[in-house]
Amino acid sequence: MMPTSERAVVVGAGLAALRGAEAMREAGFSGSLSIVGAEPYRPYDRPPLSKHVLTGAIRADATTLPSSLGADVDWHLGSPALGLDRAARTLRLADGRRLPYDRLLVATGTRARPWPNPHEGRLTGVFTLRGRDDAAALRAALAAGPRRVLVIGGGFIGCEVANLCRQLGLPVTLVEPGPTPLARVLGTTVGSLIGAIHEGRGVDLRCGGEVEWLEDEGGRLVRGHLTDGTRIDADVAVIALGAVRNTEWLAGSGLSADPGGVDCDEAGYVLDADGRPDPRIAAAGDVARFPHPLYGGRRVALEHWSQAVAQGVHAGRLLAGAVPEAPYGELPTFWSTQGAVVVKSVGLTEGADALAFTQGEPASGRFVALYGRAGRCIAAVAVDSARWLPAHAALVAAGAPFPPRGAAADRPKGIEILAPGFP
């Protein structure tokens, strides 16, 4: 076991950081443990922020995560990390403090990708959604009863927010440059079904559209202008253009990091610019870009809740000196609650060349879609059909032949192979 003089520092105070710190303690690490967070809050859960926090059903500050950590943790909250000196093994914080470390967990996560025009992005009524404060501010704006909400970007967060606006009875327009919502992640075949669900709830869906600029009156948003000249009057805009990874603080550290993430080896140790692992530093969560054994060792950085938990635990054990049994390679899993519709996925759809509805009925809004690539199952998406997902996860984890052998109980006629429709 580690000598007690060892010092561990966790950079970041989100889900991956928390589960990593817990895992370190549970694996027997008894040295000093510091957790550094940019926000002034203990680790909290983000998924409710784009859902029931916006409806007002729960408060933004009620989302603090349960934890097994005791009092033997030094919290450095409200002061982000600014720099890393690996030679001196110290971390520099924004408030000027320097924290020495023997073990370091990089879990700084992501931030919302801002609106490209900084002036427009700062207008009253223009929001991004990532943190607790963002959610509280957007909640207040929605509660004030805007004439219309303009959601820019039809990814998971954009879709969740648009559907939720309808729950609140607010008129909402969702502008998405792709042919359907979620086209990049799920393809147009499934994306169009999701789009239909949202249109059925009254979302004004503008696919193939692009917002060119945001117009204000006295610093307040009044409308958005699309590239085709369409004007959409709205006093709230939600910028849902994805996320940027928080890696700037690693500049000059000699580690291999860029806006796409920080690179790790199979075990989870962070690589330096020459591709050598630093055995004192591991990474986990949204910020970690790692070779995934299920995908031929291709490097991926996944913004998944389950990934933050599993990789956080893995990295925590690694840093505590508990040698992991195998390289990190959890099957990616994801969920999104869009209104009252649950979309869940396993695996990664990227590169899929075929798709089959293996369960349920697309027209009914409850179904499972299985994605294949080069004759192998690579991913599955379940819409309101969670209980069928484990069986599909097994196919994906095993790389089973696509289409799978044998018919499902509710598909006596067998399954039809479709194009997934990736743009």
């Binding site: 349920g360 484990p390 069986a391 499902a408």
Partner: protein
């Protein structure tokens, strides 16, 4: 000639009091073929992993009942005209535990819509009251039969009140339920005498339910049968009369034949573990954990049957298409790969992902009721029975291997507080 296979030993009444050593042997081969005289054989899954996997496998069907074949009467009109028609109706309106999606889903959704949180919460409070009354009746006794005095009447009263079956009609159900519950015992489906008796019983209970449904249409009350007979789900689904009759029979039979075993097995286990009984007496807050452990350790439903729609590769074997499956839930619950020291009764074990209520689409509808009833019964028994001790260990068992539990559980006491 006795069935020498391990599955035969599971069914053998001689092993009823303690089937777990047979289950342990079955677990040595996670999925094993048991000779049943057919080419496909019957395949038994006995480990937690294989059972969970098969419960969630879309190629596994719950439509295991053989086609209806009502007994012939000798009357040509009945045998040639009425029988085929009735057989056809029976096959079309199977209860949903024996059906697959999409039919299963629609029927189950109707039930779940009526099985509201409010109704179940009302029954939670009612269970406490009923237990208090049942024990009060025995306050002068020096011996109780936990089955007849509490474990049977409690769930029966609860399910009848929930469905709106009049109290005076309750006794009619006792014989009906015992007979129809045999449908879950694998061999009964191939025994013509049992099938004939089931047909007669189904006619009797079906006739009763048809009349009761008419009454609920004329005078709707706040009960599940009135709701099912008169209201649609939010999706606009409303059961037809035959499905409604079959479904309400299923619910009533399940209410009579399962929770009784959970409560009785619970008291039996506590009397065999006096330290746990004392802990529960001192801290009723332990009850929920203790009941989950009971559902693992002595589940009321020991196994369920299924059928394969396609060949399935699992645990180094290939189960052929069209094979009968036995998912040995109670064996999976004692799998050391998931539950360390599995034969130890330990309410404090972390994370009980037991299979006591099955899993996936067919997860027990009545699970919340069973939990509340068991909590009400076991906490009251722990608190009120003075110096309880088993009169016979093991107690006499009911015949069923799938629905397994003591016929009687005689307990000597020094009074009821």
């Amino acid at each position: 000639m006795p069935d020498a296979t391990l599955l035969g030993q599971v069914k053998d009444f001689a092993n009823r009091a303690n089937p777990y050593p047979v289950y342990a042997k079955l677990r040595e081969t996670p999925v094993s073929r048991q000779d049943d005289g057919t080419e496909a054989g019957t395949w038994v899954a006995a480990t937690h992993g294989t059972i969970s996997s098969l419960l969630h496998d879309p190629r596994v069907s719950s439509e295991t009942l053989p086609p209806a074949d009502r007994p012939r009467t000798g009357n040509p009109f009945t045998d040639l005209i009425v029988k085929p028609l009735k057989d056809w109706m029976m096959d079309r309106h199977r209860v949903f535990i024996f059906r697959d999606p999409p039919d299963h889903d629609a029927l189950r959704a109707s039930v779940m819509h009526q099985f509201s949180r409010e109704r179940v919460q009302a029954m939670r409070a009612r269970s406490d009251r009923l237990v208090a009354d049942l024990l009060d009746e025995k306050c002068a006794a020096r011996e109780i039969d936990a089955v007849d005095d509490l474990a049977y009447p409690l769930p029966v009263t609860v399910i009848c009140e929930l469905f709106g079956v009049p109290r005076e009609d309750e006794p009619k159900f006792h014989g009906w339920a015992t007979q129809l519950a045999t449908a879950l015992e694998p061999d009964s489906l191939s025994d013509p005498e049992i099938r004939a008796a089931n047909s007669r019983t189904f006619d009797a209970i079906g006739g009763y339910m048809a009349d009761l449904i008419k009454e609920k249409r004329r005078h709707p009350q706040d009960d599940m049968l009135s709701g099912l007979a008169n209201e649609a789900t939010p999706e606009g689904v409303k059961m037809g009369d035959y499905d409604l009759i079959a479904t309400s029979i299923l619910m009533l039979v399940a209410g009579h034949e399962t929770t009784v075993n959970l409560i009785t097995n619970g008291l039996l286990t506590l009397l065999r573990h006096p330290d746990e009984l004392e802990r529960l007496r001192q801290d009723p807050g332990r009850a929920p954990r203790l009941i989950e452990e009971l559902l693992r350790y002595e589940p009321p439903v020991q196994f369920r049957t299924r059928r394969t729609l396609a060949a399935i590769d699992i645990a180094d074997v290939t189960i052929p298409e069209g094979a009968d499956l036995v998912l040995l839930l109670a064996a999976g619950n004692r799998d050391a790969a998931v539950f360390p020291d599995p034969d130890r009764f330990d309410p404090d074990r972390a994370g009980t992902r037991h299979l006591g209520f099955g899993g996936s689409l067919h997860y027990c509808v009545g699970a919340p009721l069973a939990r509340f009833e068991a909590e009400a019964a076991l906490t009251a028994l722990a608190r009120r029975l003075k110096a309880p001790r088993l009169i016979a260990d093991p107690p006499p068992y009911r015949p069923g291997a799938a629905l397994r539990g003591p016929e009687h559980l005689r307990v000597a006491i020094e009074g009821i507080a």
